[in-house]
Amino acid sequence: MNNNTCSKCEQGLNPEKLAALDKFISEHPDPVDPQGALIAVLHEAQELFGYLSKDVMDYVAEKLQVPTADVYGVATFYSYFTLAPRGKHLVSVCMGTACYVKGAAAILDTIEEQLGIKTGETTEDGLFTIVETRCIGACGLAPVMTINDDFYGRLTVDQVPEILAKYQKEYRSSD
């Protein structure tokens, strides 16, 4: 039963990425509960596919033999997981206590204004997605944000346009 693959899903999903996901699943068995690897597997699936589509969640559900409603519950519980495609650059603003006190809300407002979208949304060109995050453990540098793996601390509102422009420029020059 555990070797069941969902033919319908496989048609729609990239076979190489699926193979990579299968490999991950077989390399990370949970010794206590075979279905306990769910979070790690969803994590990997999101890395591979960019987001957790219905097809991806169906696939994981069948692979791990976890009811789909449970998979969906886990995927919607953790803010880390995203069920919609995200932009090339993930702008993540820390709204933890220290950052919030130091003016993170104003930073977030400025970003929203600059990009013309709300938190949780993606720009039309697919370049940026804005998300809020909880404390990332850099309170000494508050307020902070990350764009993909780049880190920005002691932010002020006026720095925001410049930082965003850098990513926009990169995009244009790579065209």
Partner: protein, 591 residues
């Protein structure tokens, strides 16, 4: 197991180790207020209504989850606890509609009772309230997230008892909603329409889809000839809807009430059951002889059918193709009865009163219709809806004089009565198969092995010198266990009966709310008392084997020919389909 002695509210009580404080308190007559707790389900500890004070502990403990310990001193009520419990319920109410008077469960709601007993007399908190659309997509079950208080009993029964897991929690905190995966409409999910979520829901977050208005409309239409049938388990439990102790069969009063309401003819689903038995026993004998698609698996339970279509499509060929008693009776009402009475088929409006929410779904399946075109049951009401209809008509139910069913679809045998309890169908088929194989009547027609308790039962019977192995399961988690054993070859059977609900039809999703008689939903004692009512019915019948029924013989003689004839196949048999999404069962899920 070792015992522990503790003091609860100043009284010493000794209980086995592992007993919770809540259970221990019940021993001294204290029923600690509770909300998310249900004895058949895993411990959730979500609502905190059952908090108690444990001496030496810094904080209050949830008594449903906290094990009793030796030497422990517990106070179940203090001024602080009284206030905290009330606050908790006030906060729950804050995010709950204020529509008790127009709510389906007015007077039958655990939250309402709790608010009363805990002394909530005012609503202090007015905060943000959730607002989600209702899911009306299923023919059987309505989901109304606004009434949900997140006790998660529905999620637990769906996964733990039914092995379906159509429901789960999604999102987090204030935004938590109980829903099918991807927020799919029920009709597109693996929901098997069993309605057990309705049975355990403390509020009205789950309800059956109402059919009473359609029925009233048909009754008011002078052009319609409205016939009704009701299931064995309806008569075994309908009294509960009027506050009568469980276990009293009330067939005659139900017939009388239906006539008063204005139905043109009142038929007995047990007659449908007699035909189901004749057809299914013949199928069994035929298939066993040719070793064709064995084991034969029963197909009367509509929730079970949707379940196998999602979860075990590889076993669909093994299903008996015989329709359920309801659909058989509906088919005969629209053909045999209509022709005999000279009433055009399209004028007949056929109603079923069932213990079941899944029967509403079955009635919409074109596979159960005549030639896939004519619906055989136009509206299905649950026992609860029937109770409402009787009350709505101003009928003083308990004062009615018993009346008899209408002929010719009203005289059943005892074999039909016992359908409602797990194992009953197998026993009935056995009674008839024995006769078909040996030409003799079995001496003892009550097969104790198939009755006993519920869960999974197995027994072998020698019929005509050959051993036949029977297996019976009730509740769909038990179906998983039994079917996996069959598929792996570990279990070898000739005949399998599966009923979707715990206890069989008497535990159906459409039965009166257990709390109307102070019982607990799906409590084994409650189910046994309802089953006892069926047993009384069976023994009260002069004919107890379907093949002995002169009415069954007459319909076969005049109309159908013989079991499995071409006409029988056209009217009394059905087909099944493989369904998406694929069902997944998480084995070993608690409890």
């Amino acid at each position: 197991m070792a015992n522990v002695t503790l003091t609860i509210d100043g009284k010493k009580v000794t209980v086995p180790e592992g007993t919770t404080i809540m259970q221990a308190a019940e021993r001294i007559g204290v029923k600690i207020p509770r909300l998310c707790y249900h004895p058949m389900l895993s411990i959730e500890g979500a609502c905190r209504v059952c908090v108690v004070e444990v001496e030496g502990q810094r904080t209050l403990a949830a008594s449903c989850a906290y094990p009793a310990e030796d030497g422990m001193t517990v106070r179940t009520i203090t001024p602080e606890i009284r206030e905290i419990r009330r606050d908790i319920v006030e906060l729950i109410l804050d995010n709950h509609p204020k529509d008790c008077q127009t709510c389906e469960r007015d007077g039958n709601c655990e939250l309402q009772d709790l608010a009363y007993s805990l002394g909530v007399r005012e609503r202090y908190y007015e905060g943000e309230r959730k607002s989600y659309p209702m899911d009306l997509s299923s023919p059987s079950v309505i989901r109304d997230p606004d009434k949900c208080i997140l006790c998660h009993r529905c999620v637990r029964i769906c996964g733990e008892v039914q092995g379906v897991s159509a429901l789960g929690y999604s999102h987090r905190g204030f935004k938590t909603v109980v829903m099918p995966a991807y927020n799919l409409p029920f009709s597109e999910s693996v929901c098997v329409t069993c309605g057990q979520c309705i049975n355990v829901c403390p509020t009205a977050a789950f309800l059956e889809k109402d059919s009473t208005q359609d029925v009233l409309k048909a009754l008011a239409d002078p052009d319609k000839h409205v016939v009704v049938q009701f299931a064995p388990s309806v008569r075994a439990s309908i009294g509960e809807g009027f506050g009568i102790e469980p276990g009293k069969p009330l067939q005659g009063k139900t017939v009388a009430a239906l006539r008063l309401i204005g139905f043109d003819a009142v038929f007995d689903t047990e007659v449908g059951a007699d035909f189901t038995i004749m057809e299914e026993a013949s199928e069994f004998v035929e298939r066993a002889k040719n070793n064709d698609r064995m084991p034969l698996i029963t197909s009367c339970s509509s929730a079970w059918i949707k379940f196998i279509e999602h979860f075990y499509p590889q076993l669909l060929p093994n299903l008996s193709t015989t329709k359920s008693p309801m659909s058989i009776l509906g088919s005969l009402a629209k053909t045999y009865y209509a022709e005999n009475k000279g009433i055009p088929q399209e004028k007949i409006y056929s109603v079923g009163a069932m213990c079941c929410t899944a029967k509403k779904f079955e009635a919409t399946r074109p596979q159960t219709w005549i030639d896939g075109k004519v619906r055989v049951v136009d509206a299905v009401m649950t026992t609860r809806e029937l109770v409402w209809l009787i009350k709505n008509n101003g009928i003083d139910f308990m004062s009615l004089h018993d009346e008899d069913f209408d002929d010719p679809l009203g005289s059943s045998t005892g074999a039909g009565s016992i359908f409602g309890w797990t194992g009953g169908l197998a026993e009935s088929v056995l009674r008839t198969a024995y006769y078909l194989i040996t030409g003799e009547t079995p001496e003892d027609i009550e097969f104790e092995e198939l009755r006993s308790i519920h869960g999974i039962k197995k027994a072998s019977f020698n019929i005509g010198g050959k051993e036949y192995r029977f297996a019976v399961a009730d509740g769909l988690k038990n179906a998983h266990i039994l079917l996996r054993a069959v598929l792996s070859g570990e279990e070898q059977c000739d005949f399998i009966e599966i009923m979707g609900c715990p206890g069989g039809c008497i535990g159906g999703g459409g039965q009166p709310y257990a709390r109307s008689t102070g019982s607990i939903p799906l409590d084994t004692e409650l189910l046994k008392r309802r089953a006892a009512a069926l047993r009384i019915e069976d023994r009260s019948k002069t004919i107890r084997r379907s093949y002995d029924s002169p009415w069954v013989q007459r319909v076969y003689r005049e109309y159908l020919g013989k079991p499995l004839s071409e006409k029988s196949h056209k009217l009394l048999h059905t087909t099944f389909v493989e369904r998406k999404p694929i069902g997944i069962w998480r084995e070993g899920v608690a409890p």
